[in-house]
């Protein structure tokens, strides 16, 4: 365990400069925007005089130089203060923390579904490379891999929510249902089935293809030949020799896909009207709320770093070589 903790500590320290680059980069990107939060606020009010705009800018600190504001922003970030959302008139951190659980449920379930089904079907396809099952699964997964998630979401809701009425069309739970405990959990999971499928299917296809390709690679190795020569049962070779060795790259992929999946949830949450983190990003863009957008980008980067730390831990648990000796590059 000590080994894993050291690994995590090293990774956490090395991600601080990277997060700083994200903060500075995002700050100057949003600095490019014509107009600021005060302009957007005045538009939403229906107009205002120059004096009001000046005093508002002064109260938000928008009259200072960009470098000065970058310094103010970074130092308040260090105190976990993400600033104030003009569009929602609330602290940004509160907004993000309120929306994040919905997105984490969505992403977590989609990842679990994609990983479990993807490896399972991948093992099925990779057990006999070139077999009929392999052909069908390979072509099917390639087709699935090409489907845009938001369109898949629309089609799924058209079939299963509008036509068959099996699942609700939108939202995260029935509004004002008064449900609590297990009832509420069931209600939320019924709402999540379609969005999870829409978000997760593309990763299911990815994991299936990786597993299959990895297994095809392992089949050619000498130790598989040795296992065969020993007379091991085929199922045993497939599961505990071939599949096991092909599984490790998938764990790495899990971390690499975290950022993409967070981006994908922006569209899925908009399709299914889930009040999550991704939808907040869309709302921030629509309301031209630059500080909110900035807070969202920075916290999504932190989230991705955290997911990758978890993946590193999982990897260290699965592969005893990781972090055992000198720091691996």
């Amino acid at each position: 365990m000590n080994r894993a903790l050291k690994l995590v500590g090293r990774r956490a320290v090395s991600s601080i400069p990277v997060l700083l680059i994200v903060v500075v980069g995002t700050f100057f990107l949003l600095e490019l925007a014509s107009g600021d939060a005060v302009d957007a606020y005045l538009v939403s009010l229906g107009g205002g005089d120059a004096e009001l705009a000046r005093s508002l800018r002064e109260s938000y600190g928008l009259d200072r130089s960009p470098l000065h504001r970058l310094w103010l922003y970074t130092s308040s970030l260090a105190r976990l203060d993400l600033g104030w959302s003009v569009a929602f008139n609330r602290p940004i951190l509160d907004l993000i923390l309120e929306r994040l659980p919905n997105t984490l449920w969505l992403m977590g379930s989609a990842t679990a579904m994609a990983f479990a089904l993807g490896t399972l079907l991948g093992i099925l396809a990779g057990a006999r490379p070139g077999s009929a099952a392999d052909r069908v699964l390979s072509i099917g997964s390639l087709a699935l891999y090409a489907v845009p998630s938001f369109w898949l979401g629309l089609v799924l809701s058209l079939i299963f929510a509008v036509q068959l009425r099996w699942f609700p069309t939108a939202g995260i739970e029935t509004i004002a249902s008064g449900k609590t405990g297990l009832d509420r959990a069931l209600d939320i999971s019924r709402h999540l089935v379609l969005p999870v499928c829409a978000l997760g299917f593309i990763y299911l296809a990815l994991f299936l293809r990786m597993m299959r390709a990895g297994m095809a690679e392992v089949w050619r190795q000498d130790f598989v030949l040795a296992a065969r020569a020993k007379g091991l049962a085929r199922s045993r070779i497939v599961l505990s020799h071939v599949a096991r060795n092909a599984l490790l790259p998938l764990v790495t992929m899990l971390g690499l896909q975290a950022a993409t999946m967070l981006g994908g949830s922006v569209v899925i949450e908009s399709v299914f009207a889930i009040p999550g983190f991704g939808r907040l990003a869309h709302e921030a863009v629509a309301a031209r709320d630059a500080p909110l957008l900035m807070g969202i980008i920075v916290s999504s980067a932190v989230l991705v770093v955290l997911v990758n730390l978890l993946v590193d831990l999982a990897y260290a648990a699965l592969d005893p070589r990781v972090g055992a000796g000198e720091p691996a590059s």
Partner: protein
Amino acid sequence: MSFLARFLRSPEGVAGLLLLACLLAMALLAPVLFPRDPLSIVGRPLIPPFADWSLPLGTDRLGRDVLAGLMHGARTSLLVGISAAVVALAAGAVIGTLAGFAAGWLDEALMRVVDAFQIVPPFLLALAFVSVVGASLPVIVLAIALGAWTGAARLARAEVLSIRERDYVAAARVIGMHPLEIAFKEVLPNALPPVLALTSVIVAGAVLTEAALSFLGLGDPNTVTWGSMIAEGRNVLRTAPFLSIVPGLGLVLTVLGVYLLGEGLVEALARKRRRQ
């Protein structure tokens, strides 16, 4: 056996080539067959498909020709997908080569920037960039490339690190070539092949990202895109599901074509290597 012959022996590659050829024909013929602005109103709203032969696929909620939109949309999708891939690959190759060849602090700094780009969700980055700079096709291409160049940069750097030690690079140094000249004239061209293998994945990703952006209303408002057609059709999803389904099928076929073509090329290259 020539490369073309080897390529034609892979069924995936041929299928992909045919799909993309059809889409390319659609894109090229769009302004010839439908010279009018595809966003202009041509008839009654919501004419169902196959009802009126002058408008074979019917009209949308505002009475715009769906077939004209589809063909012009193929143009946008392919244009954005290919340009974004070119920008991402070029930027990635140049930055990766610089990092790998320079080594030391420049390498360290550039790779931390690559890391930073990799922990920000590419779609969020594109969303922020488009909303800040304003939606137009070049901006969308740049926004997509911003999230796609890191893979190419990492690959190029890894490749350059091994090429850097070869004898011909040492020879170039001895004859007094400028390091930048060595990096970009001698090393970069040799580091390119594995980087170019990323093309199909990047093009496919770019097509999907563009569609998602315009689905959310962040596309160029003056061009027809499949994403915006799906978003438009969504308003009448229950009564005319056709309007969202057909442009989505266009997207699926485009991305599938790109992947299949990529697989075919990789397979043909692998066969060549096996024969050598």
